[in-house]
Amino acid sequence: MEMDNLYLANLREEKQNMWGGLVNYFRKRSMWMLYYCTGCGAIELPPTMTSRYDMERLGMGPMATPRQADLLLITGYLSVKTLKRVIWSYEQMQEPKYVVGFGSCPINGGIYWDAYPVINHLEAFIPVDMSIAGCMPRPQAIIDAFEKLMGEIQEGKAIGYKRYEKHYDWYKKNQDAVLGRTEAVLKPWNDPFASNPSVDELMALEKGESNV
């Protein structure tokens, strides 16, 4: 079982490589983030980035495109339509890549847990390295989470991207269950106007019905 554990395997691999620890040190000190402003969490980022809490002292900064970013921030609830774009963005990012979920919504759906377009558990679709509880988390909590994530990167624990690679079939199965549905979830919808009738046809139909 131990051999199957990705974390231990990663640790051994890093130990064999004499630069492993050093590379991790530099990785954690230069994280470029792509923030996916899906929900309300994005409003906590400006104070975190600007002079009051000053994220840049940790070596973090915003990045324009997924291909140049290391860190994907999911700031708030995710609708099914956005999930598809998030997966595209995540798969475009170069390794090593890390995902941080903001607030309760990526953890368990938050206040939108029973809404029809909002997914409940982000970690079923892409690997999440760090989740911040709260609705919404304050900048102090965000900075705290980033510092913890940096610690995990140094220790070689933030290996979500390796998990995604190894267990891609499991993630893909969940993604397909939500995005690639071929049948209705509850009750299929039979559109009474599927044949696109014209006004005249509809009027004639209603007159016929009223005569009967």
Binding site: M1, E2, D4, N5, L6, Y7, L8, L11, R12, E14, K15, G21, V80, K81, K84, G109, W113, D114, A115, Y116, P117, V118, I119, N120, H121, E123, A124, E155, G156, K157, I159, R163, K166, H167, W170, K173, N174, A177, V178, L179, G180, R181, T182, E183, A184, V185, L186, K187, P188, W189, D191, P192, F193, N196, P197, S198, V199, L202
Partner: protein
């Protein structure tokens, strides 16, 4: 009503409509489905040139949908609600696209969310929902909670992954980098 629209509407349309002054600057006009376009055209010629919004309400106990057009005049600053009821089994409505072209996305959205059909509207394709095969979601007989439970929960997805890499195992001293 600064422009006396209530009295003029009564004089013009007689028993075809049912008027009520809801607030000082808000008028409600109820009419039959086939008379709505006449009424909207008349209102537009009476300087009610702005269609602010169009919406739909599901009165499931009365088995009816209610469509509401919000019309506004920049001159008299009045707001008129034009309302009509549709049969819930086969809801369809004439498109108002020839009076206000920008009503097209409103009708498209109502078609997607309630299943009301607008013959004459050139594009009634899906606007917001992804790969939707269930009942239109804003109908009252669509239970959003059941949908969410059937699709997004841990039971439905099998959240517990078939692998144990998520658990960080205890590391022995020799495995740890600090032990080097």
């Amino acid at each position: 009503m600064s422009d006396n629209i209530l009295a003029r509407a009564g004089k013009m349309h007689g028993d075809k409509i049912e008027c009520r002054e809801k607030y000082k600057a808000q008028l409600e006009i109820k009419t039959h489905r086939d008379y709505v376009l006449n009424l909207l055209t008349w209102l537009k010629s009476e300087r009610y040139v702005h269609l602010s919004f169009m919406s739909c309400i599901d009165w499931i106990e009365e088995n009816e949908f209610e469509l509401v057009w919000h019309v506004f005049s920049y001159e008299s600053k009045n707001h008129i609600l034009v309302k009509t009821r549709l049969n819930r089994e086969k809801p369809w409505m004439h498109t108002a696209i020839n009076i206000w072209p920008h009503v097209q996305p409103y009708e498209q959205e109502i078609h997607e969310m309630f299943g009301v059909y607008f013959p004459g509207n050139p594009d009634l394709s899906g606007l917001f929902l992804h790969n939707w095969l269930d009942l239109p979601p804003l109908r009252k007989d669509f239970i959003a909670k059941d949908y969410s439970l059937a699709l997004y929960t841990t039971d439905a997805l099998g959240l517990t992954p078939p692998f144990d890499d998520i658990d960080i195992v205890e590391i022995t001293a020799e495995e740890s980098r600090d032990g080097e």
